[in-house]
């Protein structure tokens, strides 16, 4: 079990969200789209350096900016 942030996940990798850094506003917006602590998410695409990250949570696919992706902590196997 390792905790990394969403931007350093590999494409196709799945993990469980353990925390969202940053302000309350960001957490709320992510929550509303189904990305919150305890949920399994799968990274669909995204470069490791800059650029947006696309992630799937349940039936929802969401694109988030790189800065946001770095604040989402994920536990991967």
């Amino acid at each position: 079990m390792v905790i990394i942030n969403l931007s350093s996940m590999r494409n196709g990798q799945t993990g469980k969200v353990t925390g969202v850094g940053g302000g309350f506003g960001l957490r709320r917006r992510l929550e509303a789209l189904g990305i919150r602590v305890g949920v399994n998410i799968t990274k669909v695409s995204g470069a490791t350096r800059r650029g947006p990250v696309v992630v799937r949570a349940g039936n929802t696919t969401v694109a988030v900016g790189h800065g946001m992706a770095r604040r989402i902590r994920v536990e991967v196997v």
């Binding site: 509303a32 650029g51 947006p52 929802t60 696919t61 900016g65």
Partner: protein, 610 residues
């Protein structure tokens, strides 16, 4: 009584709205299609009830201007006791849709739930126990498939059962409450990835997505040109040439082939079969018809000869000749072609993917990827483009996006006219026009990103699943947009033609031509009469470009005037929307940027081009 349609973005509220009211609104497959509320009416037990299509929102704590509209609408609706909310829920995404539902259930307004996209639950392997959900939440839950109309009758029938505050919970525990509800009503079976799923992933990963995007955009451009040109060559031009022209020529004869009324309605006449194709006004005209299309004309040498006359649809500048030919036979075909392709892309769900791919690039302009959607809409008409900037989160972004669009994105009406006028020179004429506009768009974006204070927020958007566009819905949308174009454009084109005729006959154009000659001639290298096009360009850009046709401009002058006409100022309709969206002060700032950059770029082209 008022009914508010609320829900997450892209759950089909606008389709439900059309079903309930019979009114037509634009619906697409991407979050944020509706940025302003639309009102419509339906009959309920003999009573006329107002229905409002509210922009989508994920929560009742707004993060964009469009979401703010939604929250304000709800606040206003709570004032009256007989208003209700239809909470439209995406059945394939029950969990996160319930987040808004539970927030709505805390409000002091009766709600009922419309479980839309019900047909899609079967494809994605989701089963929902509707009765149980209804029992838990205490409000009616009606499964619907708005696109086919399934369930709408039931929805209307259950409207009186709407209730408020039926579900008590502690705000702190919202997500665990949602988790409990979902667990007890939803059953998910595993499913295999479909072709559309795989395509969805391929088109969003940069390695495969960029080639796909280039292919889609190139194909779209080719198809739009092909459809536009074919409609003109095989349908609209033949109709005007073979059916309408003989009618106008007869009409011209009835009006006596000349005079003020004649010149406004029919416009200038040309000599047919004359080797020089001189204007009839270049010859002293007696105005007597002999027979058919012939009139007696007096040549410069004083000879009286019979001559056959005709009109030229692109040059006569009468209300019934050029005034109709420009909107119907030059612009309309491209409008149809463009909106057919745009509507297809919108309904398929491709546009947010394009936004993700372009995100890095757009950040250089101080915007994020999603701002490509207002830009694409602006290519059709800058008015909906300006409205669509509402999906952007900050004022700074909206300013940059709206200014860039107003300066460097010509609308389809204008593009069609540029094709018509400059297209005959092929790539040699078209590339400098559109290449220059692209460079201006890019450089101005970089400059604004650098000099305007503030950060650009990151992209944050839901990517909808790919859907195969419903042909009937697509054609309906195409018709709505075409109809909107005809209704908005034709009066302005005719007004423009009318004004220009009056201004010419009062010698106002000559006057302005002389006054602005240092700028128009000196800086831009255009003849004084081009001022007429710049004046009419405030009204509408398409007819303004059309007014260049009789001036006998060189290819260089055509390129410069096409670019300057795009950049120098938005048309009056766009201007009005921009003032509303940006405010007077910001718009003034934007206008200064427009005028200065138009002069700068026009002057530079005049120096660079041969």
């Amino acid at each position: 009584m008022k009914i508010l349609l609320m829900g997450n973005p892209n759950v089909g509220k606008s389709v439900i709205f059309s079903r309930l009211t019979g009114a037509n609104v634009i619906a697409s497959n991407y979050p944020g299609t509706t940025v302003e509320f639309t009102r419509g009416y339906m009959r309920l037990n003999g009573e006329r009830v107002e229905v409002i299509d509210v922009p989508g929102t994920y929560t009742l704590e707004p993060t964009s201007r469009a979401e703010q509209v939604a929250v304000d609408m709800l606040k206003e609706a709570k004032d009256s006791s007989d208003n209700i909310v239809i909470d439209v829920v995406d059945a394939t995404n029950l969990e996160r849709n319930l987040n808004l539902t539970l927030q709505l259930l805390k409000q002091d307004i009766p709600i009922l739930i419309c479980l839309n996209l019900w047909d899609e639950t079967k494809h994605v392997g989701i089963k929902i126990d509707v009765d149980k959900l209804e029992e838990i939440l205490g409000v009616p839950v009606i499964p619907t498939c708005a696109l086919s109309g399934e369930g709408i009758a039931q929805l209307i029938k259950r409207l009186p059962d709407a209730k408020s505050k039926t579900y008590e919970f502690d705000e702190e525990d919202r997500w665990s409450e949602i988790g409990k509800i979902v667990e007890s009503v939803e059953d998910i079976t595993h499913r295999h990835h479909t072709f559309l799923d795989r395509l969805g992933e391929a088109s969003i990963k940069p390695a495969t997505g960029i080639p796909i995007a280039v292919g889609i955009l190139a194909a779209s451009f080719a198809i739009i040109r092909f459809i536009g040109e074919s409609l003109i060559a095989y349908l609209f031009e033949p109709i005007f040439e073979h059916l309408w022209k003989p009618v106008i020529i007869r009409f011209s004869a009835i009006l006596g082939s000349g005079g003020f009324i004649h010149d406004i309605l029919v416009g200038k006449l040309f000599l047919l079969n004359s080797e020089t194709e001189e204007f009839i006004s270049g010859i002293v005209q007696t105005g007597k018809m002999i027979a058919g299309n012939s009139v007696v004309v007096k040549t410069i040498t004083g000879e009286l000869i019979p001559a056959e006359v005709t009109i030229d649809f692109t040059q006569s500048m009468g209300l019934l000749s050029t005034g109709l030919f420009v909107p119907f036979a030059m612009v309309l075909p491209y409008i149809i072609a463009f909106y057919l392709i745009l509507s297809f892309l919108e309904d398929s769900g491709y546009l947010p993917r394009l936004g993700v791919l372009l995100d890095n690039f757009m950040h250089r302009l101080g915007l994020h990827g999603l701002s490509i959607i207002p830009m694409l809409l602006g290519l059709g008409c800058n008015v909906p483009g300006a409205l669509a900037t509402r999906v952007l989160e900050t004022k700074r972004e909206r300013f940059i996006a709206a200014t860039l669009m107003a300066i460097a994105i010509p609308c389809m009406a204008q593009i069609a006219m540029i094709f018509g006028l400059v297209g005959k020179y092929g790539i040699k004429g078209l590339f400098p026009v559109f290449g220059t506009l692209f460079v201006v768009w890019f450089l101005l974006g970089i400059a604004m990103a650098k000099f305007l204070p503030g950060e650009s927020p990151e992209i944050f958007v839901e990517i909808p699943p790919y859907r195969i566009p419903n042909i009937r819905a697509l054609l309906k949308k195409l018709w709505m947009r075409t109809h909107w174009f005809l209704r908005e454009a034709i009066p302005f084109v005719l007004l423009g033609v009318f004004i220009i005729n009056v201004l010419y006959s009062l010698h106002v154009i000559d006057f302005f031509g002389r006054i602005f000659s240092p700028v128009v001639k000196g800086v831009l290298g255009l003849p004084g009469e081009a001022v007429a096009a710049l004046i009419i360009g405030f009204l509408r850009k398409d007819i303004a470009i059309g007014m260049l046709a009789p001036l006998g401009l060189s290819i260089k002058q055509l390129i410069i005037s096409s670019v300057v006409l795009t950049m120098y100022f938005p048309c009056v309709a766009t201007f009005a929307v921009l003032v509303k969206e940006l405010g007077v002060k910001e718009m003034l700032k934007s206008t200064i940027i427009m005028v200065l950059s138009a002069l700068l770029v026009g002057g530079a082209l005049n120096l660079i081009l041969r």
